[in-house]
Symmetry: C2
Subunit: 132 residues, 2 copies
Amino acid sequence: MQKEHNLSKNQKIIFDLIDKSGEPMKAYSILFNVQKKGIKAPLQVYRALDKLVEIGKIHKIESRNVFIACQNSSCQISKATAFSICESCENVSEISNSKLSKYLSNFSDESGMKYSKYNLEFFGMCKKCKSK
Amino acid sequence: MQKEHNLSKNQKIIFDLIDKSGEPMKAYSILFNVQKKGIKAPLQVYRALDKLVEIGKIHKIESRNVFIACQNSSCQISKATAFSICESCENVSEISNSKLSKYLSNFSDESGMKYSKYNLEFFGMCKKCKSK
DNA sequence: CTTGTAAATGTTATATTATTACATAACGTT
DNA sequence: AACGTTATGTAATAATATAACATTTACAAG
């Protein structure tokens, strides 16, 4: 059983926004959207984002500097992430594939170095964009 | 046989710097280092970086916003990259593992979406840091 | 219940990373 | 030489993220 995290006020506001939007959001777009809720400064947003990433409620798509809600209910603290990114419409979806995650979690290179975390970003064209 | 790219003046200056440094470099640190060579503005650096990334001479480590020279002589146009990043000393090395690259190149998720590119970043502790 | 500590918040300023817009020059092909 | 493409130069600014400091809240230990 994993620890249940009680989100603080700002964390909750920001998580709810990202979760409901259903798509990747940029930090300053989040800021703009929560100003009516009293969150005024970038730092307030970044602090909540950092925490939400840390506890696995959201993920950062590094190549795009955007944040999405975790789409995999079982990963509460996820340091092993994989995403599919459409280079045309910028849609992002999280990949939950146990073979893939096992393969990567067990990967060890020539140096014998073992990895506790990874982030994988796949790029291509999604179905919708391909059919246009 | 792959196309040989003739680097332009700025591209060559910047590639040589990154290549010789042997470690990840940030864009503005590159700028600082090439000012004596007449490159004055961020844009001059970013344009050269973009081109060098495009032709596979360097790679961008997305989670760190740093650039390293390609360590894999065979990958001239590399859109399928994997790196090992030490979270303690921030050392980065490129992983050239044909099993891994085959596995990922052939990966296809439930949606049937096929990926032409990917970027994988592994995080852990390098040998040096572990032994401290 | 109060005291200590960790976590979260608020606020201002600033650092870092990256792009827009526009003008000019160099390169390679025909 | 004329053309299109690629690269360069320059100024301004946009977008992303953190430092520093003061204060408040949450909550467990005594």
